[in-house]
Amino acid sequence: MPMLEIKDLSVEVDGRKILDGLNLAVNAGEVHAIMGPNGSGKSTLAYVLAGKADYAVTDGQVLFDGEDMLAMEPDERAAKGLFLAFQYPLEIPGVATMTFLRTALNAQRRKRGEAELSTPEFMKKVREAAGKLDIDQEMLRRGVNVGFSGGEKKRNEILQMALLEPRLAVLDETDSGLDIDALRVVADGVNRLRSPQRSMVVITHYQRLLNYIVPDVVHVLSKGRIVKTGGKELALELEARGYAQFQEEAA
């Protein structure tokens, strides 16, 4: 059984169809890339997986370990092991990053019936993970993402992922807005988490990221459906020839 199985998923926003019969199956341990032009529905897919309210699922199914994920609240999905790295991470003034991380981690552990982490255990874990991502302690004391640069926000997403240790990570354009050094730090962070038990869906507009996070499978999304699936060489082909050919195929 695939870890994630999306069957004929159709989604509307404000009465407009954005996803149109999308199918996708991701097995444990696989990294899938989803590439597509702006507006093709990549973020919509990511949000629907995470459970954002503004999207109306009009048809289809999403199964996580065979369970109906669409019936779950966003926090339940997270506790079950889903993680979405946001394309545009939000700023939360007044909620210290440390408090946020700790509340999230302990809420998930509680829901899974695990013991909460003690303060020293938690601090140690955060310090280690932050160190590997070049995130300094001062940033952790600030409000979540408040005053962070675009790159710092993306690194903070990966820090959250490293701490929460999800089984299924969806990364929505984690590469956008990063210079090459930051991209490397982020990609290394992601690669460290690759494991036979963990699956990833890496959403990107550009092939560049896939030089660092090498996918097992590449899909092309156009007009709300997967129009082509291939190996990592498909990404290179897209880079060379653009999306136009696939958009025509979809039409």
Binding site: A50, D75, L90, A104, L164
Partner: protein, 442 residues
Amino acid sequence: MSAEVRPIKTAAEQALAEAFAARKGALARDPLAAQREAAFRRFAAEGLPHRRVEDWKYTDLRALMREAKPLAGPPDTAGIARAKNAGGLLRVVDARRIVLVDGVFVPELSDLAALEPGLTVGSMAEALAGADAEVVGRVGTVAPTDDVAAALNTAFMGDGVVLNVADGVTLARPIHLVFAYTATVAAAVFARSLVVIGKRARATLIESHEGPDDLDYQVNNALELSVGDDAKVDHVKIGTEGSRALHISTLMAALGARAELNDLSFTTGGSVVRNQLHLRYAGEGAAATIAGASLIKGRQHVDTTMVVDHAVRGGSSRELFKSVLDGESHAVFQGKIIVRPGAQQTDARMMTRALLLSEAAEADNKPELEIFADDVQCGHGATAGALDQDLLFYLKARGIPAHEAEALLIQAFVGEALETIERDDLRAALADAAAAWLITRG
């Protein structure tokens, strides 16, 4: 157009008139008798403020105060015993507790041992009985206001605290004025306190107000606060009155040259609460931060009305008021900033934010700027809205359940106002009180 005809007195107005008449004999030798008479005449002419009185537009006291409760008698032993643990919200703050039970200063519950040199603490009733010239000369003069509720306090006030900090004295320990209502029947309490902070002195003054739930007692409290030149005062008022209480409080404060006032009111209790502030800039270059945080629910009504009077040059004022409103609660903010002709280089900014947790909650905001000087910076802003759904989603996507996510955002919202408190222990105590409120919210 005809002049407004004074309507027939309400039962409450009638009762207040009778109560004042009955007290006359007792006040025969009171050194403030003339001031009290004048104050009562002011009330008699105006009656209880109602919605056509601009300053009371949103808090129609004539309608909200159907009856005037009898004046509370002096507390009995049982009442005093009940007040023993009052002010417990601030357990973690090492403060000098001065306890007032039903408006009466109770030395045996107060921490009067080893007063720092330069600190004096006494009873208002005693000062008046002894015709203390310093006190008698000062009451009603610090920052005079013609507000009718303040006038009622002057007319009826029995006791309160008189507190002095001498020039140049820094009080390391905060002073905590604990106001406890302990009577088992509903009565009215009128306390008046006078706090004089000398030049270059520093002090933290905390007031807390509490009483039993389910009893419709009435509190009309007033505090005159004089802050000397170059002095610095932190003032925090905590309102946790009982669920049916009517609480009116008037702070009349004056700031000397280069004085600093850091004021915060924190309100979770009471049925109808009116916090009024009259702040007068008496010396040049004074600075005040006035903050507020209210967390209310059910049918609670909390009105903050303030007049910030920049009478001299170079003053600055910052207001930041945050209300969290659940149920059918109602928050009112009226802020008037006056910049008088000589008050050049005034810098005044006012911000109010309301967080509406329910559709039925309501927040009214009325800023007023009266500016008569040209070289000034003044501004105000207001927002009202629900919790940000996108932020909630971000938190939930990280595994935080909806209720906990809401609590985090509400605490962050209130936290911005609490940030103005310098002392960590005091700020933490109020953050805990906000967290406790979130739990009772259900």
